[in-house]
């Protein structure tokens, strides 16, 4: 039976259908979760999709943070449930304090809709285990507030603890310089494109894997992230019995 993965739909979400499509391609049974529902319908993982939740009024992601479904997502994440936030979903996770840091307005102020190259820093996470080692990934960004910010102590801790999940990279595959506007267009500190929470079960990234999940979209590089999540969720939903008969 395909694993059920929830996709939260806020008023203003606009990548929910793309995400549902990409999850189905990866073999999951996507379940749309309306922002007013307080239960997650027993899904094995949750994706917060891109868009402009609640119009992104006040600050991107902040009003969504207080929706009933986000209280359920916070509880699910606290119990070790897998949560992936993409773009606006990453902003919601950051505002909710479920991942560290904040997403500031892009350094050059413009909304950026273009392809970037990112590379995973770790391949042993629920979100990246299916990625190729040393491989960089092409996928689009589409955001006005994607400049990753955290104070220097937090950034150092993230690096030390291996919680930088993705970084923007230059054409040689090396981490982009902070002021490299071609490779790190939003000006993210230390070129951070995605991070993990401290328990490793919640991840957020600004680029859109679901928009690079099949050949017709010009890149399939994002599909491996979606597949990694689906496989991890399937394992979480049907854990292999450790030792049958010992109970």
């Amino acid at each position: 039976m395909p694993v059920r993965i929830g996709v939260v739909v806020f008023p203003g979400s606009n990548c929910d259908r793309d995400t549902i499509h990409a999850l189905a391609l990866a073999g999951a049974e996507p379940v749309a979760l309306w922002h007013e529902q307080a239960s997650l319908d027993g899904v094995a993982a949750v994706v917060l999709p891109g868009g402009f939740a609640y119009g992104d009024y006040l600050r991107a992601g902040v009003i969504a943070r207080f929706s009933p479904v986000m209280r359920a997502v916070a509880g699910f994440a606290g119990d070790g449930g897998l949560v992936l936030g993409i773009c606006n979903g990453f902003q919601v996770l950051a505002e909710a304090g479920l991942v560290p840091g904040a997403l500031l307005r892009n350094r050059e102020l413009r909304f950026l809709g273009r392809e970037v190259t990112i590379a995973p820093e770790r391949l042993d996470t629920p979100f990246t285990h299916g990625l190729a080692a040393n491989g960089s990934l092409r996928m689009p960004i589409a955001h006005g507030e994607g400049c990753y910010f955290a104070d220097p102590a937090t950034l150092d801790a993230l690096e030390r603890d291996g919680r930088v999940l993705f970084r923007y990279v230059d054409p040689d595959g090396a981490p982009a310089a902070e002021d490299d506007r071609a490779a790190n267009p939003n000006g993210s500190l230390r070129a951070i494109a995605g991070v993990l929470n401290d328990a490793g079960n919640v991840a957020g990234l600004m680029p859109h894997p679901e928009r690079a999940a099949e050949a017709i979209l010009g890149s399939e590089d994002g599909a491996a992230i979606i597949r990694s999540l689906v496989e991890s969720a399937a394992r979480a939903a049907n854990p292999v019995p450790a030792a049958v008969g010992t109970r």
Partner: protein, 86 residues
């Protein structure tokens, strides 16, 4: 009960990059204005609060500012009374 008016002024914390402030600064040349620097762009949120008394009203605004109006990682806020109706 008493009714109070407040404004919450939210500003980027010192040291936080403020691209909006920089963009405004970039336009000064076009205006022929000299000698202005360190422009920071924030947000002002005004509200009416109906509460038992002034301290109770202010406590509500404090909570609203800390939990919603400002992100403590990147923004500072100041609460300003802008009049009350007894």
């Amino acid at each position: 009960m008493s009714i109070h008016r407040y404004a919450v002024n939210v500003t980027p914390k010192p040291g936080i990059l403020d691209p909006q402030g920089r963009a405004v600064e970039g336009s000064l040349d076009h205006l022929g204005i000299e000698g202005v620097s360190a422009i920071r762009v924030g947000r002002r949120v005004e509200m009416t609060v109906d509460a038992a008394d002034e301290p109770a009203a202010r406590a509500v605004v404090e909570r609203l500012a800390a939990e919603l109006l400002a992100n403590p990682l990147i923004e500072a806020y100041a609460i300003e009374s802008i009049g009350g109706i007894a």
